[in-house]
Symmetry: C2
Subunit: 355 residues, 2 copies
């Protein structure tokens, strides 16, 4: 029972993580002005881009894996009673504030330009609420899928996101993956699932048809939101990422405010907005905000494929770090899954060269 309780609680927090990782909002972690890099010529641009891409990918991987570790840590510290919706709102607000802070610095150094001004046109901004709305629908579905699947089973089914992201990336962004990269993507999904196998995983095979359908729809929603965010951010490459983030987060705040009103209005009114917050809650919110910013950077300077690989590696890193921190035991399935994921990463890079 204890195990199940922790699992379920972790799941609830899973929403928080996922919402933020998949919130796909970002701001440069360093204050390197993007326009400055873009204005450099030829090779140095490519180098800077590659460097930037590597930095944001590593940052995303480390932040994502530390996120999961923070959650385990907070669970070990005892049950906490804050409302998840206010935490989500705080994350959005923090990201919004950080984006504005970065913008004020850029304005001071470079002045206000067409690309970094905050004001926008209806044409530009009208697509920004779409990812947030998609996540809202997905998160609502999440309450219903648990009628068909248990929490560990849902963790397994969530790996369908990997496939849906690849398929939608191909369809919506019209970017081709080579045959080898497709093979690598299927392996990434199989490897991640293998690494998460535990003795009760087989239950997932008994998932009824409705459960499968909901899992597939949720994977498509999540994949679509990610790919759509990339499309929005990449549509105008010269546009400052902080402005793009600002607008994404504004709508994130609006949707989370609605969630507070619907779900936790009474609790917030009676016990206050920050009821139940502890130091670890604050750390988690900070971490989620930074991860969100890293995701957004990956969308700007890399793509959804890199994001999927990054979060998969983070999952493996989390398990390895947990061995030292919490004396977790690594299973044979974990080693096999990690091997398959490693080969998948290798094949993905090989596939890129051979394209």
């Amino acid at each position: 029972m204890e195990y199940r309780r922790i699992k379920d609680e972790k799941e609830i927090d899973g929403d928080l993580i996922e919402k933020d990782i998949e919130g796909l909002h970002g701001k440069p972690l360093s204050s390197v002005p993007v326009n400055h890099i873009a204005s450099l010529g030829g090779n140095s641009v490519n180098w800077s881009k590659l460097k930037l891409k590597s930095i944001v990918t590593v940052a995303l991987t480390l932040l994502t894996s530390s996120q999961a570790i923070l959650i385990v840590w907070s669970k070990r510290a005892g049950k906490y009673e804050y409302s998840v919706t206010t935490a989500n709102f705080s994350v959005e607000a923090l990201k919004c504030a950080l984006s504005l802070l970065a913008l004020t610095r850029i304005w001071k150094n470079e002045g206000v330009t067409e690309d970094n001004r905050l004001s926008t046109s209806l044409d530009e901004v009208i697509v920004y609420p779409i990812p947030a709305a998609l996540y809202l629908v997905k998160n609502l579905l999440q309450y219903y899928i648990f009628a068909y699947v248990d929490a560990p089973g849902y963790q397994i089914l969530k790996n369908l996101n990997i496939i849906s992201t690849g398929v939608l990336y191909r369809i919506i962004l019209k970017k081709k993956l080579s045959e080898i990269q497709w093979a690598a993507f299927i392996l990434l999904c199989a490897g991640c699932t293998t690494a998460q196998l535990n003795p009760s995983s087989d239950h997932v095979l008994q998932t009824p048809f409705q459960g499968w359908m909901m899992a597939i729809v949720m994977a498509l929603l999540s994949g679509f939101a990610g790919v759509y965010t990339e499309a929005i951010i990449k549509k105008r490459p010269s546009r400052n990422i902080n402005v793009q983030n600002f607008w994404l987060y504004v709508f994130g705040m609006v949707f989370n405010a609605v969630a507070i009103l619907v779900q936790d209005f009474d609790a917030v009114m009676n016990e206050g907005f920050f009821h139940g917050y502890s130091l670890i809650t604050v750390c988690m919110i900070l971490n989620h905000a930074l991860s969100g910013l890293a995701v957004s950077m990956v969308m700007k300077y890399a793509d959804n494929i890199v994001k999927v690989y990054s979060t998969s590696v983070a999952m493996l890193l989390t398990a390895i770090v947990s061995v030292f921190l919490f004396r977790f035991h690594l299973s044979l399935a974990f080693f096999l899954g990690s091997t398959v994921v490693s080969v998948s990463i290798y094949l993905h890079s090989i596939g890129k060269l051979q394209r």
Copy 2:
């Protein structure tokens, strides 16, 4: 308990299967005279070769998977008490007889030539006992490894054969595999192991150092024997495969005769050579003999890499057929492992084209 019992018993028979699959002795299943095919010109030779290669590969896959099914079947029918060494000897003798039968037909149709005459030189025949001797050493080691690993753990460790075969194939036969094919080979090993995972598999991680060393040595012996057999058979391509098989099996008979003397001399003297044989034992011996011939054909017309893929696919086929025959349940790990193996096969063929 029932499940575990079957697993363990299957293990004991595993030796019999493996010994024969790895006996690497063969004879054409069809009586197509090899020299006849070789004498056809240009494209039709390539076509015939590809067809022959496909036929022997499919035959090996089907025979290997039906082998495992026969074993489960015989277990269901009740425990049998025949001596494994006499069964092994019978398999070698049967293969020897079938090779001679095929040879007499060829002599009648084509007359005796330099390539199909049975008489041989010391130079040619001196290497033939080496594979049989290697297997003998490996089978002796098998008795000692169980001091360190349990039977299901040994099944898992046996997948190291895949890697050792690839490495020795590269070193001894000096045939290159492309980067993608190496990746595919690692995946094949990981996929096969994943497909065999069960809740007790994690024990294998507690294998002591000596156990690991023995498993690695055994994998190397087994891989070396396979690759060496291929080297022997391929050394003189025009030599009739039935003659090559005849000499391989003669030494197989000699080594198995020694094994009978050492292990089962008393039982054979007191109860007779064929004591405890049933219809199913005869079927199994027939099946093992045909599988051995198919392995030999694969060595002649394809290679050890094809053999490894073929026996891996056979393992998956066996599990799927067992679902229908014995109402086995397929685990999620099986599906994941099968996916990885399938991708591995795909990558192997892609890797060949891109080489």
